[in-house]
């Protein structure tokens, strides 16, 4: 048994590593994707091009504008004189945010009325609009608060030191500088592993079928169990090696902290790769050509990544999608990845995820091996 299995393994490894392109593909694209993701995928905003129309010309309005000027999130590029200019600049895409302070702003503030700050945001500019809105709110809140203190000082200077106030002391845990990179890099490890292991496994079996070499293997004395093991073991090992490679590149290059235990991450990765092997095998049993395997795999990969919480919060999805996301192994692996990398938690916290992935791995592998046996007969 071991002799035959060994031969099969040797054959698979030769097949994978013989081709220069395939060799490159196991190493090049994962690293390139890790780098591109690390740099491109960001929810942070800096220097959003902003234009200002101040029709009030008061000390108050200038003070408010200066808070935007000094903020690292906005770059006030121009002070305008006409509200049509805002429209023009945003239409052309030269500005993303337009701030308009109408005449009477300071007067309203002094009277204790609500003073409006008009904000115009170019919402075609994806999520920048949403995030910029949130910062604008924070800046305006800060302004209103300080203005209030000033008024108290003017009306009743004797109260200034006695008046109570509440401040929010924010403590962002796990990612104190609120870096998008720290959020994305662990996630990319999971997504790339998913893509690689599924496509490798699915293609390897289907290729034999498509080229007709599967029949040749079937006439050899090899047993189905040995064949399956021979087909999956190499990809399991390649998967493990790739996780290691991407994880090392991601952590070293982008300086993402690794706060947890390597063994916990390794356990999670092994369980996850086993799940993905099962999916890949399953796809290979229902595909007769590589093109079919590819579209089927892609059909699985896209929802798996979208629903996993890789880039978009699960909690804002519609309820049915949230239920569906429980069936996605990547969802659990991402919790493990981020847990180990950023939170530094161990098995006492991550055991539910590990259990689910283990159960999924057993289920997927059983079904796919049973189906595989049938397909071979």
């Amino acid at each position: 048994m071991f002799g035959r299995l060994k031969q099969m393994l040797i054959k698979e490894f030769i097949q994978v590593f013989r081709d220069k392109r395939t060799r490159f593909i196991l190493i090049g694209p994962p690293i390139i994707q890790m780098l591109v993701f690390g740099y491109a995928a960001t929810y942070e905003i800096h220097h959003v091009p902003t234009v200002v129309l101040d029709l009030d010309h008061s000390q108050e309005s200038r003070e408010l504008v200066s808070r935007f000027t000094s903020s690292p999130y906005f770059e006030v590029q121009r002070q305008l004189t006409d509200s049509r200019q805002i429209r023009d600049l945003i239409d052309k895409g030269d500005a993303t945010v337009g701030l308009e302070i109408d005449a009477g702003f300071a007067q309203k503030l002094r009277k204790g009325q609500t003073a409006p700050l008009q904000v115009i945001v170019d919402a075609t500019n994806s999520n920048t609009a949403l995030i910029a809105s949130s910062y604008i709110t924070q800046i305006a809140l800060g302004f209103a608060k300080d203005y209030q203190q000033d008024r108290i000082y003017r009306i009743a200077p004797q109260f200034v030191s006695a008046i109570p106030s509440i401040e929010l002391e924010q403590r962002p845990w796990y990612n104190a500088e609120l870096s998008s990179r720290w959020f994305f890099v662990p996630g990319v490890i999971g997504s790339l592993t998913l893509i690689l292991v599924i496509t490798l496994t699915a293609f390897a079996v289907v290729r034999e079928r498509e080229i007709g070499t599967l029949e040749q293997i079937m006439v050899t004395p090899i047993r189905p169990a040995e064949f399956i093991l021979g087909k999956t073991l190499p990809f399991f090992l390649i998967g493990v090696a790739d996780v290691l490679l991407i994880a090392v590149v991601g952590s070293l290059w982008f300086q993402v902290p690794f706060r947890g235990n390597v063994a916990v991450l390794a356990l999670g990765a092994v369980l996850f790769i086993l799940c993905m092997l099962g999916v890949g095998l399953l796809i290979s049993t229902v595909s007769s050509t590589q093109q079919q395997a590819m579209v089927t795999a892609f059909f699985f990969i896209m929802p798996a990544i979208t629903f996993s919480g890789f880039g978009f919060p699960i909690s804002t999805m519609p309820q049915w999608m949230q239920y569906f996301s429980y069936c996605i192994p990547l969802r659990y692996f991402l919790v493990v990845l981020r847990g180990v990398y950023l939170k530094g938690v161990g098995l006492d916290i991550l055991w539910p995820e590990m259990t689910v992935m283990a159960a999924m791995a057993v289920g997927l592998l059983t079904v796919s091996i049973l189906r595989f046996h049938k397909a071979l007969d």
Partner: protein, 377 residues
């Protein structure tokens, strides 16, 4: 170049596509699925985030403040705990996104006057959610603080209404700031990349791998005829998918459509030529379906996903990456789509995107024909 011979190749390809009913089904169902996935699944507007509360004071004031959190649609107080470790654990295992800690001397110190701090512990693994949460929490705390101050002054015979700055945000082009409206036009580019590059990248590689390429070479069909014949069916499929996507976007998701339909189809045709040529070129070079599909993923899908401005704003990327996006056809196509859908930019104003797209289409088509010609010899 003979039209009949080209037609014969096209017919062969069509038969091959039609015979593989699952791939055909997926090609038609894929746009619909991707549209639904991204239309519903991607939403960065957070609501009802789970919050744990630790009220060490238990006074009337602390309860009032917490009631404000409860009333906000952005927070959902899921548990009131009696110790710090419970909050730490909830953040660790993800049951809470935020923990609010009110100090034991909260009301006492308010009585005494001066600033009092309330802690917000935020799970910042997802930096974007953390940012938005902190902003909302500040709004709640400050609202309460201002109200309390004006009560306090009133008791001392001073009348001072809080004078808030109200922010009147107008989001242009996407008035409701629906995530789906800015995501969905970009999904079209994703669909085109998948259909165009993935499927075609396999067609030539398949012929090499199966050995049927030699048979094709021995026929009088010329290289050009093979290329056009092979690509024509995928072009038709791609245009069909554009149509499906546009209809779903407009009638299902009610994404505004303000531009010209002819321009939409015209620019889509250009982009299709780009991705089809790329796919073809890859398949000629790779000669191996697995390699072809992985490279196609790297050079078409990844840029369409990451470097096109579809999800992540290009302005916020490092400058080198911004230059790189300029040689990504997907960037121009996504810009055109957003302008046609949301801004209603007239066609004559789209030259800055349409000209580069046309150049890409021309150059890549030339490259594809050239490479294939050489390989046949």
């Amino acid at each position: 170049m003979s039209f009949t011979r080209m037609l014969a190749v096209a017919k062969k390809e069509v038969v091959q596509i039609l015979r593989d009913s699952r791939s055909l089904f997926i090609v038609i169902i894929m746009p619909v699925t991707l549209m639904l996935l991204f239309g519903y699944g991607v939403n960065l507007d957070l609501k009802g985030m789970p919050v744990y509360v630790l009220d060490r004071d238990g006074s009337q004031q602390s309860q009032d403040l917490l009631k404000r959190f409860q009333a906000s649609e952005y927070f959902k107080v899921v548990k009131v705990v009696d110790g710090y470790p419970a909050i730490a654990r909830a953040l660790d295992d993800g049951h809470a996104k935020m923990g609010i800690v009110i100090p034991w001397d909260f009301s006492q110190r308010l009585q005494a006057g001066g600033p009092v701090q309330v802690q917000a512990l935020v799970d910042a693994t997802d930096d974007n959610s953390a940012n938005v949460l902190i902003g909302y929490a500040q709004g709640v705390v400050q609202g309460y603080s201002a109200q309390m101050q004006s009560n306090w002054l009133q008791q001392r015979g001073q009348s001072l209404q809080p004078a808030p700055v109200s922010i009147e945000t107008r989001t242009w082009y996407n008035e409701d700031l629906e995530s789906s409206a800015f995501i969905i036009p970009g999904v079209l580019a994703l669909v085109m990349s998948v259909i165009g590059a993935f499927l075609t990248s396999l067609t030539i590689a398949r012929e090499w791998e199966r050995g049927s390429m030699e048979q094709l070479i021995s026929t009088p069909v010329s290289a050009m005829e093979i290329m056009f014949g092979k690509l024509a069916p995928y072009f038709v499929l791609g245009m069909f998918d554009v149509l499906i996507c546009a209809l779903i976007a407009i009638y299902w998701f009610h994404v505004p459509f303000r531009g010209s339909f002819v321009t939409l189809m015209g620019s889509s045709a250009l982009f299709l030529v780009v991705v089809l040529s790329l796919g073809f070129y890859i398949s000629v070079m790779a000669k191996n379906q697995f390699a072809a599909c992985q490279i196609a993923l790297l050079v078409t899908f990844l840029p369409a996903f990451l470097l096109s401005g579809f999800l992540f704003s290009i302005e916020q990327m490092p400058i080198v990456l911004q230059w790189i996006t300029r040689i990504m056809p997907a960037r121009y196509y996504v810009t055109v789509l957003k302008k046609i859908f949301l801004k209603g930019t007239p066609t004559a104003m789209l030259y800055a995107e349409l000209i580069p797209l046309a150049v890409f289409a021309f150059v890549l088509a030339l490259l594809a024909t050239h490479s294939f010609h050489k390989r046949l010899e």
